[in-house]
């Protein structure tokens, strides 16, 4: 054993030891610049309005608005579905100036509202009709929506005395294939011809739901596009004997959830029904809390409601809400969706349906103030702390007439009326963390209607995309 060998071994051991110590330390910390999802304003939005009225006893108007006043660059047009080059009733290139045009028979069965560039963010459109005929009577208001692949409708009636038509519109340039699923009180309805319905590009299809599910009452209809995207709407017309008993568009509900808020009862309603739908495969146990202007309470008749799988439960809540502005907070052991059907008898029979909707955000949502109808905005929230809603009342030139900062009490429903003349619409915004739902109720001699106030498409999410490793 020589000294040289000992030195070599010593050095080797030292190097090995130091190496182990170094490796035992912290590894370099780094984070890959992974592609992040981004949220950007849409550069183009197309909204589908379901259809022009099929009879001469109905007048229909289209209300469209680009609420973003930041950008002045862009356009807002209304085009017929069948002929994209033809403007249905006009166009607008200024923000916050509504496009309020009548729709006639010549405008075809469906209208597309298109906004691009600076006018695209938050664009909102409504279609409202007033009918006074021997077969149809009442007011019907509905929002025009972007095509998507999943739609839910509650309170669909296809029984004797009611006519419900499902209007499917494909506003895209690709083919869509659609399934229609119907849930009734007795469970899922096996409806022949309801699956794999093809819908060509820029086409529309109207389906009589009585043909798919004859006799079904208070049903829930789900429209699911297995390919492509569609816009869906359901129009219901009721008669009592030979007397029209109202007409309305059934508002599209938010997807089922275990915690839902239905802004429901409207003042002066003679009858109110709550429909609860459990589309899942296991039983749902539901607890309801009524949110009235004075605060929450738990109706004993709405305790421990049991909904079988894939079924609809209908319960009368007239006595509970008492004709006041009421919202229902429903908690369930399974995903459910719900709606409240309000009926009025004076001055003529009419009904309105309200359902779950997306909450307000800081971006303004549009609530049209319709002529000849009283407009009330109702807000409900489940949180106990209360919050404020900012309401701007704007005229047809885009000028803000006044601004309210409305206090919404916690776990309560608060309503306000559009009382100022010249008001064309209201812009409503709130702290999104308050999860305030809003609805606009329209009441007049011709009838009643309720429509959810939801923010338009202000931002779209672009997923983070990166090359695969």
């Amino acid at each position: 054993m020589s000294l040289r060998h000992i030195v070599v071994v010593t050095i080797a051991l030292a190097v090995a030891g130091v190496s182990v110590v170094v490796v035992g330390g912290e590894r370099p910390e780094f984070s890959n610049p992974r592609a992040q999802a981004t949220v950007v304003p849409p550069s183009r939005v197309t909204l589908s309005c379901p259809e022009s009225p099929p009879d001469t006893a109905t007048t229909t108007r289209l209300f469209a608005l680009a609420p973003d006043d930041v950008s002045k660059n862009g356009g807002l047009t209304a085009e017929t579905l069948a002929d994209a080059d033809r403007v249905a009733g006009g166009s607008e290139d200024a923000p916050r100036v509504p496009l309020d045009i009548p729709l006639g028979q010549d405008d075809g069965p469906s209208v597309l509202v298109k906004a691009d560039k600076g006018l695209a963010p938050g664009v909102t459109a409504f279609q409202y009709s007033a009918s006074q005929g021997p077969r149809r009577s009442g007011v019907a208001v509905t929002g025009c929506a972007e095509a998507r692949d999943d739609w839910w409708f509650n309170g669909v009636d296809a029984n004797v005395g009611a006519t419900s038509r499902l209007v499917l519109t494909n506003p895209t340039s690709g083919v869509a294939v659609v399934d229609v699923l119907i849930f009734g009180r007795q469970g899922a309805v096996m409806a022949p011809g309801s699956r794999d319905l093809p819908l060509a590009a820029y086409s529309r299809q109207s389906i009589d739901l009585a043909r798919l599910a004859p006799g079904v009452e208070s049903a829930t209809v789900r429209v699911r596009a297995s390919e492509g995207r569609v816009s869906a709407a359901i129009a219901t017309t009721k008669v009592q004997g030979a007397t029209p008993a109202g007409t309305d568009w059934i508002p599209a509900a938010a997807p089922p959830a275990m915690d839902v808020l239905v802004s429901g009862g409207r003042p002066g309603a003679s009858g109110q029904q709550l429909t609860l739908t459990n589309p899942g495969s296991r039983e749902a146990l539901v607890q309801a809390t009524a949110l009235v202007s004075s605060g929450p309470f738990r109706p004993t008749s709405l305790t421990d409601l049991t909904i079988p799988p894939r079924s609809v439960l209908v319960t009368d809540i007239t006595d509970i809400v008492g004709g006041s502005s009421t919202a229902l907070h429903l908690t369930s052991t399974a995903d459910i969706t719900a709606a409240v059907i309000s009926t009025v008898s004076r001055p003529r029979p009419e009904f309105a349906i309200s359902t779950t909707s997306e909450p307000l955000t800081q971006r303004p949502a549009v609530a049209p103030v319709l002529r000849d109808l009283r407009t009330a905005l109702c807000f409900a929230m489940t949180g106990r702390a209360g919050a404020y809603v900012n309401i701007s009342w704007v005229d047809a030139t885009g000028e803000t007439l006044s601004t309210d900062n409305l206090r919404i009490e916690g776990a309560a429903t608060t309503c306000t009326r559009a009382s100022r003349p010249r008001t064309a619409y209201a812009l409503v915004s709130a702290d999104p963390s308050a999860a305030i739902q809003a609805a606009a109720s329209y009441t007049g001699r011709q009838g009643v209607s309720t429509v959810a106030i939801t923010p338009g498409v202000w931002r779209i999410a672009r997923p983070g995309v990166e090359p695969a490793p």
């Binding site: 071994v9 992974r34 849409p42 995207r229 695969a468």
Partner: protein, 1036 residues
């Protein structure tokens, strides 16, 4: 004349002497003692420089000695001798007996020859059985013929002993001129030996001519002649032919074949002999015999380049060629005989090597068992000549017993089968860092040889050389690329064990220790999880590392054989290793530095250049890829296979000394605990400290490399993502060094322990030995019992429907865009050819352009028709979203008019077909009136477009959807087209003209490959063991 035969048959013996003084006395004595004496004896001396002439005059008389020039050939000398004999009439002998000065007939040789010569009609030539002089038992010739390649066929094996197996008299094509008995009239009719064949093949040519003349050549087994073959063995200088005997021999062989074969076969023979000579020359080059290779080429050129000479010789032979071809064709060997002989030679060589090894091992064992000294003493004493050559320890069982590594390999192979039981079956092995192999070796060859690769959007980076190695291996396995990967990964343990054993045997003496090294080292790929995590590069490097050590050992030890050959072999094996695991090169550089210091310290500085030469070879042999390593050093930290993002090399750093990298399927750390303990204890053996210290230096080098690299990250090729460096190879180096340290200390330990007094050393040695032995045993049990699959899986190489794969391989060369994930971030991949396969990752560099990423983002979020048009510009014909699928993305794609749903397994994916023309190359004519003709795909075959195009508008362009397409060129009727770069590739302005359109990828890589091939050949020749020449063999 002492015999009765002499009265009936007259024989003239002609002796040709050329510096044969030392052989002549025995010849002359034999002639004197012959039972039948020749009628005349004449000797021709070709101006011998020794005392041959005087000796002949003394013994035969001056009148019987004829002088000839020194450069006279054998035939010319015989003719000169015959001219001194009576020319005609009764005095002329009927037979001529040709004798070389270095041969000696037996007593009855001439009698037996004459007996055969007179036994039948048409016997013109008779030849004796020729044995070696002085080894009397070894046969040299029993008649001779010539194969189609010109090889001299004797029907004898090398060194065959005469045991009566050739006692049958038979007709042959020819017999040697040594002892040849020729009928004089035939000799005269044929003009004797061909003067163009002064020394070589004159006998075959003459015999062939005799046969063609309708006469017979007969082998007489009872006639015996001994021949020293002095000229052939280099025992004397030859002056009658070129200075290069091999050249002369080959020239004579080719000449003989061409002038004697049937006329119809001459063209075929020309081609066959030209190609054969080329192959033989290459073979000689590989055998490091460049001069012989040159002889081969020059001989072929000299004969094949003079068809006039061949024609004249053939015309001369026509004068007496009366026999049908069928009469003499049976005397020629079958066409496959030379090839069968070649196979026999190789098998014989292998068998000889094994037997030699068996014999050595058996002798060694006998020595150990008997406890006596030199085992060769057992073989002393008088033994028969034949007995010396009998193999020792023959038979399968004896072979296995004498080669325990065979049994160990068999055991480990069975264990590998068991341990990988979940990974057998159909499909491609993949997972972790391992990509699926291509469908055949040709894909790998294509990837390696082409200048532009259709990977993703395209790449012009040089392919990693490991692809060529895998391609070569796959070619040997009938093109089955998957089989190569399966063997390397699933059977990494027996392969590594064999390699370790080979290296250990070269530097250690104890076979038990070598076996321990083999099994302990062999288990490293399995126990560390390197194989089950799919790190093919490290797996192969583990197998190659022992070979590098074995090759480098002579450069470092005191061996006197540290030659350039060792340096070349070291460089060659190191190049292979670096091809798979580039990090091996900087580690080798550090080791070279340490070794240079060691050599300088021990006074062997002269070996340092050899080490540097070995170290530099990978840079040369792996160029131009190795230049990428220089310009992009981070590539040194990658290896063959994928870089797995987020790979962490160590979960628990303290496990590092136990060789546990954070790999899927790794064994518990404590299984290697005994190894580390033993490596530390190994330092306690003072008499082996030098070697153990060397191993510890390497161990420290491995750990230091791990320490340095553990702080580094590496970019995942083809992306912007970073990953921690994979530390598998340096960890294995450290583990291997620990094994070596233990083995060095254990080698011969038993003798030391037994010889010393009982003390602390014996218990320590015993405990260490038990611990070291338990380590591989436990490891083997764990491996076969648990059978970890790790990240590996066996499944189809691609989830894509077959028609999409066909589209990618079609003439349109379409691409498929695969977008994965319903969560953030989504990832995309552009597939080309047969999808992402092993090897393709080596040509990925920069991530795809931002514009493509933007396009994919738009597609899955807010698609518009123009986005689909841009997809087609990228050559993307299909879009695939494997599940889980983003519902919104599916809806977006559904909404596009130019995307139509394509059939697919909807449970696994959603797919769309781009309904616009999408392919690698397309012709766009904006001025076309019909939309159908505005854009059309052009067929691509072997990366080339060669098609005719009709006239069109001025604005026509040819779009090539290829990234890194700088080298692409397009020509219309040979005229180059103007090229522009676009964001999806390149565009060539075609214009309105019609003609033949050619679009080609760059070809400069072929020049590099040629240089690389030549360099590899040269180094391989340098590294190969040299072939000893025949004379050297004889002297041994």
């Amino acid at each position: 004349m002492s015999s009765d035969l002499s009265a009936a048959v007259s024989v003239s013996a002609v002796i040709v002497s050329h510096d044969g003084e030392r052989f002549l006395p025995r010849l002359l004595d034999a002639l004197a003692a012959s039972s039948v004496s020749p009628t005349d004896v004449v000797a021709v001396d070709t101006d011998s420089s020794d005392g041959s002439r005087s000796l002949l005059i003394d013994r035969l008389g001056e009148s019987a000695v004829v002088d000839a020039p020194r450069d006279a050939g054998f035939g010319a000398a015989v003719s000169r001798g015959l001219s001194a004999l009576p020319r005609e009439g009764s005095e002329q002998a009927a037979w001529i007996w040709l004798l070389h000065d270095d041969c000696a007939p037996d007593v009855d040789t001439l009698r037996e020859l004459l007996a055969v010569a007179t036994s039948a009609a048409r016997v013109a030539v008779v030849g004796p059985r020729i044995r070696a002089w002085p080894r009397a038992q070894r046969l040299l010739e029993v008649g001779v013929t010539i194969s189609g390649t010109g090889h001299r066929e004797t029907r004898l094996e090398a060194g065959e002993y005469d045991q009566g197996q050739h006692d049958e008299q038979r007709d042959v094509l020819a017999v040697s001129t040594a002892g040849m008995l020729v009928r004089r009239d035939v000799w005269d009719r044929l003009g004797g030996l061909d003067p163009r064949l002064p020394l070589f093949r004159d006998d075959i040519d003459f015999g062939w001519r005799v046969a063609k003349a309708g006469e017979r050549v007969v082998f007489a087994p009872a006639a015996m002649l001994f021949h020293a073959e002095a000229a052939a063995r280099g025992a004397r200088r030859i002056d009658c032919t070129a200075a290069r005997p091999h050249r002369g021999d080959r020239r004579a062989a080719l000449y003989s074949l061409l002038v004697n074969c049937p006329a119809a076969a001459v063209p075929w023979q020309y081609v066959r002999l030209a190609l054969g000579s080329l192959l033989r020359a290459i073979g000689y080059l590989l055998g490091k015999l460049p001069a012989t290779a040159l002889d081969e080429v020059l001989a072929a050129a000299g004969v094949l380049g003079r068809p006039d000479t061949i024609w004249r010789a053939r015309r001369g032979r026509r004068a007496y060629s009366t026999a049908e071809t069928s009469a003499w064709r049976p005397l020629l060997p079958r066409w496959w005989t030379p090839y069968a002989n070649g196979v026999d030679s190789v098998l014989g060589l292998v068998t000889a090597l094994l037997r030699e090894r068996s014999s050595a091992v058996a002798s060694s064992r006998r020595q150990l068992r008997s406890g006596r000294g030199d085992p060769t003493a057992l073989e002393t004493g008088p033994v028969a000549d034949e007995a010396v050559s009998l193999p020792v320890g023959a038979g399968p069982l004896a072979l296995v017993a004498s080669h325990p590594i065979l049994a160990l390999t068999a055991l480990l192979t069975v264990a590998a089968f068991v341990a990988t039981r979940g990974l057998h079956g159909a499909g491609f092995l993949q997972g972790g860092a391992l990509l699926p192999a291509p469908t055949s070796s040709s894909s790998w060859w294509g990837l390696y040889t082409e200048s532009w690769h259709g990977v993703g959007l395209g790449s012009d980076l040089p392919t990693a050389p490991y692809v060529a190695v895998l391609a070569a291996a796959a070619t040997l396995l009938a093109g089955k690329a998957w089989l190569v990967v399966d063997l390397l990964v699933l059977f990494a343990v027996p392969l590594a064990a064999l390699s370790a054993y080979a290296a250990a045997r070269a530097i250690m003496t104890s076979q038990l220790v070598c076996l321990w090294v083999a099994v302990t080292y062999g288990l490293l790929p399995a126990l560390t999880g390197i194989s089950t995590s799919g790190h093919l590069g490290t797996v192969v490097a583990i197998t190659l590392l022992p070979w590098v050590v074995r090759a480098a050992a002579p450069l470092l030890t005191t061996s006197s054989t540290a030659r350039w050959r060792s340096a070349a072999a070291t460089g060659l094996t190191l190049s292979l290793l670096v091809a798979f695991a580039p990090v091996g090169w900087p580690m080798a550089a550090a080791a070279t530095l340490a070794a240079a210091g060691f050599l300088a310290g021990t006074g062997r500085v002269a070996r340092v250049p050899k080490l540097l030469f070995a170290l530099s070879l990978p840079l040369l042999l792996l160029a131009p890829w190795s230049w990428r390593l220089v310009t992009t050093p981070s590539l040194l930290l990658t290896e063959a296979g994928r870089v797995v993002p987020g790979t962490t090399a160590m979960r628990d750093a303290w496990q590092l000394p136990f060789g546990r990298v954070d790999a899927a399927g790794a064994a518990p750390w404590w299984l290697a605990g005994g190894l580390l303990l033993a490596a530390i204890v190994a330092l306690l053996r003072p008499d082996r400290l030098a070697r153990v210290a060397g191993a510890w230096v390497v161990l420290a080098l491995g750990l230091a490399t791990v320490a340095v690299l553990s702080q580094q990250t590496v970019t995942v090729p083809g992306t912007d993502a970073e990953a921690l460096v994979w530390l598998g190879f340096p960890t294995v180096v450290a583990q291997g060094a620990a094994i070596a340290a233990v083995a060095f200390a254990a080698d011969g330990l038993g003798r030391v322990v037994r010889s010393g007094r009982f003390g602390w050393r014996q218990p320590v040695a015993a405990v260490t030995a038990v611990t070291a032995v338990v380590t591989p045993v436990l490891g083997l049990a764990w491996w076969t019992g648990v059978a970890p699959a790790g990240d590996l899986d066996r499944r189809a190489a691609s989830d894509l429907p077959a028609y999409m794969t066909d589209a990618m391989m079609s003439e349109a060369r379409q691409r498929v865009l695969v977008v994965r994930g319903d969560e953030q971030p989504m990832t995309y991949d552009v597939l080309f050819d047969d999808g992402r396969r092993l090897g393709q990752e080596s040509v990925l560099d920069d991530p795809p352009s931002d514009s493509l990423t933007e396009l994919v983002t738009d597609l899955v979020s807010r698609a518009e028709p123009r986005d689909v048009a841009r997809l087609s510009d990228y050559g993307i014909a299909y879009v695939v979203l494997p599940r889980p699928i983003s519902g919104s993305a599916v809806a977006e794609l559904d909404a596009q008019p130019s995307l139509t749903r394509a059939s697919s397994n909807t449970a696994r994916m959603a797919a769309w077909q781009v309904s616009l023309p999408a392919g690698l190359v397309k012709l766009v004519d904006p001025g076309a009136t019909r939309p159908a003709t505005q854009s059309r795909l052009l067929p691509v075959v072997d990366r080339l477009v060669d098609t005719s195009v009709p006239a069109g508008s001025d604005s026509r362009v040819v779009l090539v959807a290829a990234a890194d397409a700088d080298g692409f060129e397009a020509r219309l009727d040979g005229s180059s087209l103007n090229r522009r770069t676009t964001d999806t590739g390149v565009a060539f302005d075609l214009g309105a003209g019609s003609g033949t359109l050619e679009v080609a990828t760059p070809t400069d890589r072929s020049r590099w490959l040629l240089v690389q091939g030549v360099a590899l050949l040269v180094v391989a020749v340098l590294a190969a063991p040299g072939r000893r020449n025949r004379g050297e063999e004889e002297s041994r």
